[in-house]
Amino acid sequence: MKTKDMSYSEAIRDAISLKMHEDEDVFMLGEDIGVYGGAFGVSRGLIEEFGPKRIRNTPISESGIAGAAVGSALTGMRPILELQFSDFITIATDQIINQAAKIRYMYGGKGKVPMVLRTPSGSGTGAAAQHSQSLEVWMAHIPGLKVVQPSSSYDAKGLLISAIEDDNPVIFYEHKLLYGMKEPVPEELYRIPLGKAAIKREGTDVTVIATSIMVHKALEAAKQLEREGIEIEVIDPRTLVPLDEETIIASVSKTSRVVIVHEAVKRAGFGAEIASVIVESDAFDFLDAPIERLGGKAVPIPYNPELEKHAVPQVSDIINAVKRTLQRGEEV
């Protein structure tokens, strides 16, 4: 496979472009996605490539955009809608939760909504309280949706292609801080199945389950811990729904120690679900220490850049959590 260095945003654009060339029914809609190229430049060049009918630059109308996506998906199209910031999902949720997620069920399996809602989430860009949240767990709670959170360019492209081809509504959470990150990505079309976790680093001492930007922080922690002789295994679920429970359980059964880390507020965050999956499984018998769960503080994301960092887990927090799990349950 021929590869090319691609940023996360280039990889996403490449996935959209490949699918739009292949399938006439795929189209995009969202605010400022035309000549402006989208709030984070992801759709730059697409309107020139595909024209304004397939790259629909919309009015500021989140419910309108989501409703149009649902209506067109239900009648044969494959819309990809972009919400400028994932915080704005609040003004589109009726169409996502009460409509998209329930249509297949209410239509007795004879209606489908093959839409992808792409949206940037997360803090770290100084965008303040209403443009920085990580709200993915809301969508993970709703039966009928699939929820994806890629942490790398390679994953973003392969997962987005699968999401576009999926016949269910998929919520695709991108992270703002990842858009610029580069890595070699195959130029051709490839798929990563929804519901398959990635072991981002193998290790034997502690399993660290991290999502989105926290995967990178966990890998950074791994480097530092390695110097102290601690080998952590880093697992990125990549999709929250469906969740690859098998990979998580297998890893925990091997290491017996777990740290779960996400940027979203810890309380009722997705980490609670992952922790429950572990303790409800046979892996419970292997646990040698309480599960450590790291997440954002229960505060709005501060505008002040220093305080902003303190609101979400950092590399040092992961290192400390890993060490805490190792100090517990040691055989004396």
Binding site: R56, G71, S72, Q95, Y107, G109, G195
Partner: protein
């Protein structure tokens, strides 16, 4: 300062106005033609068909409210008083046009090809009610007020993409016109000139809230003007006026001229739904009687009788046919196999994921 204040005051009085909206009608409540130029070009058989459908719908509604009282239906929203709008608007469509209904709009779906027994099953929450037959271009009745309006734009985009000349018609009520989705949809469809006909059936009450407490707007039609789309108010109890208005809006839409908003003035004779609503709590005793003078069946019957196109025998024939149809269809609904938990779970995703397979296993015996 005083001058500026004075200027603002005179500006308010002279230039800032709410556009006056007049009501479009073809027949008077007495069934006389009041607008000769706008009498739609329909054959005698077509006129009779409109009447048959209205009578059929009235009987069906009476039967359905009875079934609901007996607990044999789930959710049911009575339609009496609104037949002029429901029947007239659907009759103006082609089979390939799409209907996005609200929960009261079952008659339009039925005459567009959606079987009645499935409507009964839908009312009971049976999934087969949601399995719309292939080639019947309707979506399920929307439960969330106004949500169908924004979806209409998407369906219209899909039609436009396929270069069809077909259109989308969507319905909401006076209460729905207060939702943000109502404006977002018209604005969205307006900007892309999408082939949508937005209908508001102003039946005067959103459950118990009268339209005067719903909005300060003197008409609901004027709400479309802000979105830049042609908007009209019609006498919704005048089936010919509704047919004519929808036909013109459909023509505009099909010609690529964009959406239209139609406010149809109606009166809901019955309760909001059969789920415990007692209209005497929010209506005066006289009110329904006043409205009955204008109701759509009486009016159109007089018009047809004047043209010697309608007789008592014809009316009785339709009533008997309707009673029989409803009885047959409810029987068919009753006989349909019951649902199972595993079927519900399997209808969640294209392929059932592992966590749901686990849940399914709990029901497998």
């Amino acid at each position: 300062m005083a001058r500026t204040k004075q200027k603002a005051q005179s500006l308010l009085e002279s230039e800032i106005k709410v556009a006056p909206i007049t009501t479009f009608s073809v027949l008077s409540p007495e069934g006389k033609v009041v607008n000769e130029d706008e009498v739609p070009n329909l054959s005698d058989e077509q006129l009779q068909e409109l009447m048959k459908r209205m009578v059929f719908t009235r009987v069906w509604d009476q039967r359905a409210t009875g079934l609901a009282r007996q607990g044999r239906l789930g959710f049911y929203a009575p339609v009496a008083g609104q037949e002029g709008t429901m029947i007239g608007s659907q009759y103006a469509l082609d089979k390939e046009d799409f209907i996005l209904p609200g929960y009261r709009d079952i008659p339009q779906l039925h005459f567009h090809g959606y079987p009645m027994y499935q409507a009964f099953l839908w009312s009971r929450g049976h999934q087969h009610g949601g399995q719309i037959p292939e080639g019947v271009n309707v979506l399920l009745p929307q439960i969330i007020i106004g949500a169908q309006y924004v979806q209409a734009s998407g369906v219209a985009m899909a039609l436009k993409k396929r270069n069809t000349k077909n259109i989308v018609i969507t319905y909401t009520g006076d209460g729905g016109s207060s939702q943000g989705d109502f404006y977002e949809a018209m604005n969205f469809a307006g900007v892309y000139k999408l082939p949508v006909v937005f209908v508001v059936q102003n039946n005067r009450y959103a459950i118990s809230t009268p339209v005067t407490k719903q909005t300060a707007a003197s008409s609901l039609a004027q709400k479309g003007l802000a979105a830049g789309i042609p908007s009209i108010q019609v006498d919704g109890m005048d089936v010919l006026a509704v047919y004519q208005a929808v036909s013109k809006a459909k023509e505009r839409a099909a010609a690529g001229e964009g959406p239209t908003l139609i406010e149809a003035l109606n009166y809901r004779i019955g309760p909001h739904s059969m789920s415990g609503d007692d209209p005497t709590r929010y209506r005066t005793k006289e009110e329904p009687t006043e409205w009955e003078q204008k109701e759509p069946l009486t009016r159109f019957r007089k018009y047809l009788e004047g043209k010697k196109l309608w007789t008592e025998e014809m009316e009785t024939g339709v009533i008997e046919e309707a009673k029989k149809t409803v009885a047959d269809e409810i029987k068919k609904a009753d006989q349909y196999p019951k649902m199972k938990m595993v079927d519900l779970i399997d209808s969640m995703y294209e392929t059932t994921p592992p966590h749901l397979e686990e849940q399914k296993a709990e029901y497998a015996d």
